[in-house]
């Protein structure tokens, strides 16, 4: 019934001697047999014996929304505590772990990241058959449990609800799981760094996790990560809407490459070809030219870059904004800085539990920032690097190691993981970047960094068609290809600036995680198209 696949776990550290394939198969067969026997026995017992618990346990028929269904109030696992002691409750949760011991069976029930211990004891209302049935349920099955909340004298170790346990009176399987799991939730939730030498060193490797993402996502850390990610998105929308921004939706199928030309995915479009948008920038700018003044967009962005790094995805969620200003692009730059600070503050204040849950598994340093954000000039950054012995030319871009180093220097000095680097050299920015009128070498552009990695690159855009044409020529860009872009500024356009962040990257860096695949629910990279 299950495809023959050994449990994939990556043992870190001194790996135990692996059993041979043959042994594995044998063990598997035997366990299957045992299961079959157990389930058969359970069914038989139900039928044959005069069971005091008959009708109190079993497999529920498939829930298909029939018209007569029980009216039951369910209690969430996270709400089970001392105050409910003595009360009778219904709980729908997954079977996290199960341990049968003759006349009693210990079960840990899990709902999202919350766990509670339940016990099934043979008594005058609970039959031996029911205990046996409980012991035979496979892990990760979804159960309906009726139980009495009981206070425990000493805290239950390993459960989130430590002061109570459930004394079970009814037990029904709503949806059963296959007995063989490709990964164990317990293994997948084990802290990466554990000081306790006696704890197990079994970890689940990244690819196993991603291949079995629905199981992997059930771990507390993953539950937290994606709630935090939703939080970033919500805070971004809330803060911008509050400031009078309009959310727009830009096309993702476009006729020509938005920037440069390389790195775009080609898709067939009826008789011809089209491309997947690698940035909503042109459309944001057109919305500005169309008098929307302040716009933002949240949507998928595609990059056909064959880079297999910890921070590149071929499809990610872009949070982009563009904004008209009066006289100086700093109006926009500082605004974006404040929006990001607002998001960080929101996360700090509203998601402390989730951040703690991620910390428990991955153990990262908390994210620090300053309010208002720290702004450094590119030249200052170069000077700080030079002091540390890394020379970067005045018209040279920062390479990744230099960015990381600067991040560390800034952190040591100001204790902030977020800062803005202003006035980048003109030579390293795209053609539509407004040159600095006071210094021919620099431009009105800025990058923002989290934990020493660039998260946003923005600038004042040239809104004058003539200057834009001149700059495009200077960069050797084929004018015919960008004619429609230049045309959008021909009928007058307010000065504007903007920028965009990648949702997954921001969440990864905020949480101090080491891989962007941890913050993408179903990541896409050059080597992964499924699930």
């Amino acid at each position: 019934m299950v495809e023959d696949k050994p449990i994939e776990v990556a043992a870190s550290g001194d790996s135990v001697k692996k059993p041979s394939k043959k042994d594995l198969k044998k063990a598997e067969k035997e366990s299957k047999k045992a299961e079959k026997r157990a389930s058969n026995a359970a069914v038989k017992l139900e039928v044959v014996e005069d069971d005091v618990s008959a009708g109190k346990y079993g497999v529920l028929p498939l829930i298909r929304s029939t018209s007569n269904f029980p009216q039951r109030a369910f209690t969430n696992v996270k709400d089970l505590n001392k105050r409910l002691a003595g009360k009778n409750v219904w709980v729908r949760a997954r079977l996290h772990t199960v341990r049968g011991r003759g006349k009693q069976c210990f079960v840990v029930l899990r709902q999202k990241e919350f766990t509670v211990q339940a016990i099934i004891n043979v008594s005058n209302t609970v039959s031996k058959a029911m205990v046996k049935f409980a012991s035979s349920i496979s892990k990760e099955s979804i159960l309906d449990v009726e139980a009495t909340v009981t206070e425990v004298p000493s805290a239950v170790a390993g459960c989130s609800q430590q002061d109570v346990e459930l004394v079970t009176s009814q037990l029904w399987i709503v949806s059963s799981s296959l007995p063989q799991l490709p990964l164990l939730i317990e293994d997948a939730s084990r802290p990466e760094k554990n000081d306790d030498a006696e704890s197990l060193s079994i970890r689940v490797n990244q690819d196993t996790r991603l291949d079995n993402r629905i199981l992997d996502l059930r771990t507390p850390a993953n539950q937290a990560i994606f709630r935090i990610e939703a939080g970033v998105c919500r805070l971004f929308r809330e803060i911008l809407t509050e400031h009078g921004f309009t959310e727009i939706h830009t096309p993702k199928i476009i006729s020509a490459a938005s920037e440069g030309g390389a790195n775009v995915f080609t898709v067939s479009y009826f008789k011809g070809n089209a491309y997947l948008a690698q940035s909503p920038q042109l459309y944001k700018q057109m919305a500005i030219a169309a008098d929307f003044e302040k716009v933002f967009t949240v949507g998928a962005v595609f990059r056909a870059e064959d880079s297999n790094t910890h921070r590149h995805l071929t499809e990610f969620t872009g949070l982009d904004l563009e904004m008209a200003f009066k006289y100086h692009y700093h109006e926009v730059m500082l605004f974006i800085g404040n929006v990001l600070t607002g998001i960080f503050k929101g996360l700090r204040d509203q998601f402390a539990t989730e951040i703690g849950m991620v910390g428990q598994q991955y153990g990262m340093e908390p994210f620090t920032f300053l309010e208002p954000p720290l702004v450094l000039k590119y030249a200052e950054g170069r000077a700080m690097l030079a002091e540390a012995g890394v020379e970067i030319g005045p018209e040279e871009d920062l390479n990744t190691p230099a960015e990381k180093l600067l991040g560390r220097i800034v952190k040591a000095k100001y204790d902030t993981d977020f800062y803005i680097l202003d006035k980048y050299p003109l030579a390293v920015r795209p053609f539509y970047t407004m040159p600095d009128p006071e210094d021919p070498i620099t431009s009105n552009s800025y990058d923002m960094f989290m934990r020493g990695e660039e998260i946003l690159s923005g600038a004042q855009r040239i809104h004058d068609p003539e200057l834009l044409t001149e700059r495009a020529k200077h960069h050797g860009i084929d004018l015919s290809k960008i004619a429609s872009y230049i045309d959008s500024f021909k009928y007058g356009c307010p000065p504007h600036a903007g920028g965009g962040i990648g949702l997954e990257r921001v969440v990864m860096l905020y949480l101090g995680l080491d891989n962007i695949r941890k913050t993408a629910m179903f990541p896409r990279d050059p080597k992964r198209l499924t699930p």
């Binding site: 700090r348 204040d349 620090t368 300053l370 309010e371 208002p372 040591a412 000095k413 100001y414 204790d415």
Partner: protein, 259 residues
């Protein structure tokens, strides 16, 4: 043989004389250069301020950017004193930030922030830029110049006074030891945990002030006054006696009239 030695000595002596002569010339040349440089500096508008001290007494080139971490529960009021009282010598430009370890800053800290940031110095005098970060640090203020922090408000004051040299370096004053002991008392006051401890220290501080107008019998506000007024503002006002309260009012007046 003796003659020969004498001759040798004479040659050596002559050589020495020549070298000394050259050194004197070199020194004169250097002085000349220094003079022209100073007059150039003066031409750059540094002379315009009437209260200006001779620029040679101020050496504030190569001052690194200063970063001060302070707990919003213990605002370093001495920064405000320095900014206002020394405003004819240096332009202390302050930018304040709130660190993520602080979710809400106190009213006192907020007021100090806006007073420090709002100060506009019009004179073209050397600028020292300082970033004040409200952070969850202890009662001690931290000053980061290079890689190691200078802990404690009075020690920050000591550092600044040395940095500015000239009349602000209290170490050149004959009352240096007296001032130092006032600074130490201030430090202990901020560290004190109990009321009894504080009362004892306040009595000692009161003795230092005595009946004179300023601390250490000074004719005007000194670094001791700056430290003491910031410290006293950070402890409960009902613990401060009349003499010190009167002095504190006078001190505050001195500063506000500079606004």
């Amino acid at each position: 043989m003796k003659n020969y030695r004498n001759q040798e000595m004479a040659v050596l002596e002559n050589q020495q004389k020549e070298i000394l002569q050259q050194l004197v010339e070199l020194k004169n040349q250097m002085l000349e250069i220094k003079k022209t440089l100073q007059s150039n500096k003066a031409d750059l508008g540094l002379k315009s301020s009437p209260k200006k001290l001779p620029s040679s007494s101020l050496k504030i080139e190569n001052v690194p950017d200063l970063i001060v971490n302070a707990n919003p529960k213990n605002p370093p009021y001495s920064l405000l004193c320095i900014q206002r009282l020394w405003s004819n010598i240096i332009n202390l430009k302050v930018k304040t930030y709130t660190h993520s370890t602080i979710s809400k800053i106190t009213k006192e800290a907020e007021r100090l922030s806006s007073e420090l940031e709002g100060f506009k110095c019009t004179e073209s005098i050397p600028v020292i830029s300082l970033r004040l970060i409200w952070k969850n640090v202890g009662a001690d203020v931290e000053l980061l110049v290079r890689h190691y922090p200078i802990m404690g408000e009075v020690n920050v004051l000591r550092y600044l006074s040395r940095l500015l040299q000239g009349p602000f370096n209290y170490e050149l004053s004959p009352k240096c030891l007296e001032i130092d002991s006032v600074l130490d008392l201030c430090y202990l006051l901020l560290c004190s945990k109990s009321k009894g401890e504080r009362i004892n220290l306040l009595q000692q501080l009161d003795k230092k002030l005595g009946k004179s107008g300023w601390f250490c019998d000074s004719s005007s506000v000194s670094i001791a006054d700056i430290a003491a007024q910031s410290t006293l503002k950070n402890i409960p006002s009902n613990e401060i006696n009349q003499n010190l309260t009167k002095w504190l009012q006078k001190c505050t007046q001195q500063i506000t009239c500079k606004v």
